[in-house]
């Protein structure tokens, strides 16, 4: 499987994404710097990693969402290439309009880092097929702006079309309908606040994120 990780100044989960992809897919991803205007050809996955792109001193992901490389990511997504945005990557994907909704400040106002219990809301997607049915999994979250927001009509549509991939088992940040991960209509773009790339090695305390990568491997 051929993958790429987008790197912005201030990305800080780019190495974690790189290592998880190398471990899970058996080949190291290309690291693509934010100023690039070309993506490697024939990608099976583009990952937009977590961190604080450009410092996130403006709205989280707002500057990265308008960076040159994201125009190429959007083109690839329109062409059907799978795109996985994690944490800040999720925020960036909503800023580019590749995903509906927005990530607001956590309802509790504080940054939250914990192992979040998640329900796999739809295990029939290319990102979740390796989870066996509606599983309960534990994956780390670490964010300040993870409070997913969309209008009721959009939320109803997302639910109806099976675009909600993951849901928090209990409310941790105020997200509408406890949505932790959401896909585009076509099902090739997933944004999620929890970090599957931090949950691939059982030595560190959990490996529930492996199935996200296994699903993509199976679909590629």
């Amino acid at each position: 499987m051929k993958s790429a990780v987008i790197v912005f100044p201030g990305s800080n989960c780019d190495r974690d994404a790189h290592d998880a992809l190398a471990l899970m897919t058996g080949s190291a991803p290309s690291m693509v710097w934010h100023r690039e205007t070309d993506l490697p050809a024939g990608l099976d996955l583009i990952m937009v990693p977590g961190g604080f792109s450009y410092g996130d001193y403006l709205r989280s992901g707002a500057i990265a969402g308008r960076s040159p490389v994201m125009r190429e990511v959007a083109k690839a997504a329109e062409g059907g290439t799978p795109v996985l945005g994690v944490c800040n990557g999720f925020q960036v994907l909503t800023e580019t309009g590749l995903l509906p909704g927005a990530l607001l400040r956590n309802a509790g106002l504080n940054f939250v880092c914990k192992i979040a219990d998640l329900d796999v809301a739809n295990s029939q997607t290319r990102f979740t097929a390796a989870y066996s049915g509606p599983a309960r999994i534990g994956i780390p979250v670490a964010h300040h702006d993870g409070n997913y927001f969309a209008d009721e009509e959009t939320l109803d549509r997302l639910e109806g079309e099976g675009q909600v991939a993951f849901r928090y088992a209990e409310d941790i940040n105020g997200s509408a309908r406890r949505i932790a991960g959401v896909m585009n209509e076509r099902g090739n773009v997933l944004g999620m606040m929890p970090h599957p790339e931090r949950a691939v090695d059982p030595v560190l305390g959990g490996a529930d994120g492996r199935a996200v990568f296994e699903s993509l491997m199976g679909a590629a």
């Binding site: 201030g10 989960c13 961190g51 604080f52 450009y54 940054f111 939250v112 880092c113 560190l204 959990g206």
Partner: protein
């Protein structure tokens, strides 16, 4: 007899005093310069000879620390200590205080404390891999405490989370002794290849000096000098002395500096910390025995019309000074262009042994470098040793009327309660190497060495109430507890860093506390083969004439050969046997029980038997290494029952202790804080081997209970449902923080 001081450049005796220099110190300057200094020169002497930079009150005592060992690559004197962790790798670490700024402006004070300590570590070539902190706040009842906790915690999180280094461990205490003077100590740990460790000494004349990072502003110019109107034409231009942190720039700086170091362009590198451009340039030139010439017009400036004085004394954050290989300027510039950071050659090294600064074509400073370090004041302050209180016997302390209630009170006490509210605000997992054991009651955190099976164990420890009662034993105990916390993960203790927080050293009683603590720590470090490789001293922590409790924080690092073989406190299971390793004497003096349940702070702290600590530590590490243990926890605050409760809460399984031994009152057995003890959970074959090895090595291993059920119980004394205990333990801090924030200016 001294002559009347000579003055130049409008300087008066008052100016000298405002710069924190004594008349005697000023006379030395006159003598070494051969003339009166101008304002820039006076400013440079004043910061280099400040307590912060020169350690003038503490140097003679810091020399008592053992600083060498078979694994020590670089001890104190550089930006951070460097220790061999095998395979050509080194761990590089240091702890530092940011107390005063954090009290004035908690968010930025704490944030810039994190930024500063990170720079100390990556300036030596290490990629930072872990952050820790040791926090002391005033009484929960003090009106400012809540807002200080809130600000400091968000500042630490705001910086560390953004820069992408996990904050993995720490400790937080509350005591009225810190009401007017909180302590914020931050520690950073990094990993480097041994053949790519960078030092700060210049190597000879003719090398270009590169300034990189943020632009220089007027922030952080020393408070003492700020207070004087003569230095500014316009007093409205004065800035608060607290700097503002920019973790995004720090992240870029880390990546750019590590890239520059890998390019082979770097001769020496130093961060601009306290006293900014002055201390970095003076130290680099001084250590290399060369001179230095800087063109102040080339310094990247954030504000207009800055004077040389302001630029030299600014403490703007996220800046580094690099001595380059000649001809490598364009290599360096290209790297910093990529990361969109300023990088300017601002001068070069010379063979004059002098520091020469030029501004607008004129020489504004020309001083010999040697006196700045060699003639720095060094004081043997008079001191009065603290008289330790008498040792209490169990009979001196009342037993609780209700043991179950006493346990709940203890586990919900501010110092003992879960700090989840704090550590859930820190990204503990970024870099994907943290073994997540950061649960309530955990001692050391474990961080894998990236790309290997090795791991580092890291912790921060000190028990200020012990140090206040008996500085000497308190100093020994701080080191011993860190040693035990590392040991309890299975790590071989490598070395420590320290952050020595005390009051005014000019008071003999305070100086006595300092000397006592340092000597106690030095003894423990020597006995445990646990050298000091870096550290920081923070004195004058006083408000309205009252000093803080002596607080020599210890930051410790250990090495785990195989992360799979680590022990944790969260692994006990139904049916496991609970063992106590070590002897019980029932020390209730200065105990958490005495303070929280009997309302007294009295008696001598528990004595520390260093030989026993060493013997038991080695025994525990062998047991963990052989896989004989399920779960290990050291016994400290709150005694045996608190440690057993912490295991039960972390593991999610109840525990029942047998009735206390007949030869010790039950409250002394359960709540005594005797040192050199561990709790160990084991089962089956592992348990059998533990018992066998204990007999073979002559250590006291006693079966005291077993895990199972859903309560913490002691036969005939107490039975507290785990759920109730968890509620008590977890709810204190969130409830406290949900209370009203006092606004001191709401008149």
């Amino acid at each position: 007899m001294k002559n009347a001081p000579d003055f130049a450049d409008g300087i008066t005796a008052e100016t000298v005093k405002e710069h924190g220099l004594t008349e005697a110190e000023y006379d030395v300057i006159l003598d070494r310069m051969g003339r009166a200094p101008n304002l820039v020169e006076l400013g440079i002497f004043s910061v280099m000879w400040s307590e912060h930079c020169s350690y003038k009150s503490s140097r003679v005592h810091l020399a008592k620390f053992p600083t060498t060992g078979p694994r020590v690559i670089c001890g104190p004197g550089e930006n951070a200590g460097v220790v061999d962790i095998g395979d050509g790798q080194a761990v590089i670490f240091k702890m530092e205080s940011h107390n005063h700024p954090s009290y004035i402006e908690p968010y930025q004070g704490a944030a810039t404390g994190v930024g500063g300590i990170l720079r100390d570590v990556f300036t030596m070539g290490a990629r930072p891999v872990a952050l820790l902190n040791a926090l002391r706040f005033g009484s929960p009842d003090h009106p400012k405490t809540r807002s200080l906790v809130s600000g400091v915690v968000s500042g630490i999180g705001g910086y560390g989370n953004c820069v992408g280094v996990p904050t993995v461990a720490g400790e937080t205490n509350f005591h009225t002794g810190y009401d007017g003077n909180i302590l914020v100590n931050a520690m950073a740990v990094g990993i480097a290849d041994q053949d790519r460790v960078f030092y700060s000494a210049a190597r000879g004349p003719g090398d270009p000096i590169l300034y990189v990072g943020s632009k220089t502003g007027r922030d952080g110019i020393h408070g003492a000098t700020m207070a004087s109107a003569e230095f500014d034409e316009d007093s409205d231009e004065k800035r608060p002395t607290v700097q503002v942190g920019d973790p995004f720039t720090e992240k870029l700086l880390i990546e750019a500096c590590l890239e520059l170091m890998a390019s082979g362009a770097v001769v020496a590198i130093q961060d601009m910390g306290a006293a900014g451009l002055t201390s970095s340039s003076v130290e680099m030139a001084g250590k290399g025995g060369v001179g230095i010439e800087l063109d102040m017009d080339s310094v990247p400036q954030r504000e207009e019309a800055m004077t040389a004085y302001e630029m030299m004394l600014s403490e703007s954050q996220e800046r580094m000074l690099v001595i380059l290989q000649p001809g490598k300027e364009s290599v360096a510039k290209a790297i910093f262009d990529k990361w969109e950071l300023d990088a300017e050659v601002i001068g070069h090294t010379t063979d004059t042994g002098r520091m020469v600064l030029k501004h607008h074509g004129e020489i504004v400073c020309d001083i010999p470098l040697d006196p700045l370090s060699e003639d720095a004041p060094k004081y043997e302050r008079p001191y009065t040793p603290t008289t330790p209180p008498v040792r209490l016997s169990p009979a001196d302390v009342a037993a609780p009327a209700d043991y179950g209630q006493a346990l709940k009170t203890l586990m919900a006490a501010p110092d003992m309660a879960s700090k989840r509210w704090i550590w859930e605000q820190y990204d503990r997992h970024v870099m994907a190497d943290t073994a997540d054991n950061s649960q309530s009651g955990g001692g050391a955190a474990v961080v894998r060495v990236h790309g290997t099976d090795k791991a580092l164990a890291v912790c921060a420890d000190v028990t200020p109430r012990y140090c206040a009662a008996d500085p000497h034993q308190g100093g020994r105990q701080a080191v011993a507890e860190a040693y035990r916390n590392l040991t309890a993960t299975g790590a071989e203790p490598l070395a420590i860093t320290d952050c020595l927080n005390f009051g005014n050293p000019e008071k003999p009683e305070t100086m006595g506390q300092f000397v006592g603590c340092v000597e106690g720590m030095a003894e423990a470090c020597a006995a445990l083969d646990f050298p000091v490789v870096s550290g920081n001293v923070s004195l004058y922590n006083e408000t309205r004439g009252k000093g803080i409790p002596p607080t020599p924080a210890v930051g410790a690092v250990g090495l785990i050969a195989d992360i799979v073989m680590r022990a944790s406190i969260a692994n006990a299971k139904d049916g496991d046997t609970l063992y106590l390793l070590g002897d019980c004497t029932g020390e209730l003096g200065q105990s958490m029980y005495l303070r929280e349940c009997a309302g007294r702070e009295a008696g001598a702290p528990p004595p520390v038997d260093l030989a026993l600590e060493k013997k038991l530590g080695a025994w525990v590490r062998r047991a963990i290494g052989r896989g004989a243990t399920v779960c290990v926890h050291d016994i400290s605050d709150g005694g045996l029952i608190a440690a057993a409760s912490e295991i039960a809460l972390s593991s999610g399984v109840g525990v029942t202790l047998d009735a206390p031994p007949a030869d010790l009152p039950a409250h002394a057995f359960l709540f005594g804080e005797d040192q050199a003890r561990y709790l160990i959970a084991a089962s089956g074959e592992g348990a059998r081997r533990l018992e066998e090895k204990a007999a073979e090595h002559g250590v006291t291993l006693t079966k005291i209970g077993s895990f199972g059920g859903d309560s913490v119980a002691v036969d005939g004394l107490l039975d507290v449902p785990l759920a109730d205990l968890r509620t008590a333990h977890e709810s204190w801090l969130p409830s406290f923080m949900a209370g009203p924030i006092a606004h001191e200016d709401a008149a």
